[in-house]
């Protein structure tokens, strides 16, 4: 166990959708401390769900073991959430960042994250996992 002086809350879940709602509960629980409005928190809940769903769908083979780590860094005025997996990874430069066609079922996830967050950073490379860093500021 390493010690850290940063105020980080970390949640580690298996790559299964049944744990998605836990990650959202913590967004709600930490949001009050960050002075985010209810609307800000609702946006963050969707963004975090999308990033975790991507890790569940794309990072690991179905039913393969694995972990998804969600780090929450609350501070007054903003909440930063990192979603990290150690799965397949991908080349973020090849992502299509244009608005998705609304009648297609896929490709909406990261687009929603970008629209709902104030800042999004995707760190990934084939073979070395993915880290998505989402920042939401208080707009009160």
């Amino acid at each position: 166990m390493t010690r850290t002086s940063l105020e980080v809350v970390q949640l580690t879940i298996p790559p299964h959708p049944r744990y998605l709602s836990l990650a959202r509960l913590l967004v709600g629980g930490l949001g009050a401390q960050s002075k985010l409005t209810v609307e800000d928190l609702d946006d963050m809940k969707v963004a975090v769900s999308e990033a975790i769903t991507n890790a569940i769908d794309h990072a690991y083979e179905p039913d393969a073991p694995g972990e998804i780590i969600i780090r929450y860094r609350p501070s007054e005025g903003q909440l930063v959430v990192e979603v990290e997996d150690s799965g397949s990874g991908f080349d973020p430069d090849k992502l299509d960042t244009s608005p998705p066609v609304p009648d297609l079922e896929g490709g909406l996830g990261l687009y929603l994250v970008r629209e709902l967050a104030d800042q999004v950073k995707v760190e990934s490379a084939p073979g070395s996992g993915t880290k998505v860093i989402i920042t939401k500021r208080a707009h009160g």
């Binding site: 049944r18 969707v46 999308e50 769908d57």
Partner: protein, 132 residues
Amino acid sequence: MRISDRSEDFLAIVCVSGELDQATVPELRERLSSLLDEGARWLLLDMRELEFIDSSGLGVLIAAARRAGEAGGELTVVCARPNVLRVFDISGTRELLNLRQEEAQARELLAECRQRATAASQAGDSHDPNQP
């Protein structure tokens, strides 16, 4: 998430409450598929009690709307919670899913669409008596 459905006149009404994400999407997908398999094509999804939706939830709705359209019908979604409305807005799916904020408006829309469809098929019949 909780789902209940009932048929009323020509409508299939499906109430969805709670949270719709990757964990609960499969259950809704199955329920909508069964209804469509059984011939339902005028679908009213009452999501006024839905507390959360993300892109996997949108995916099921989009797929069901497409199937209803292909069967000559239409799907509408009733939704009033700001956080859920926002996800429809940002994803640009409001029109595709015939989003309405009140149930009466959704019923009206489906009734109109059905009338138009019936009229069109009757007009088609009279203009082309050779069609079955």
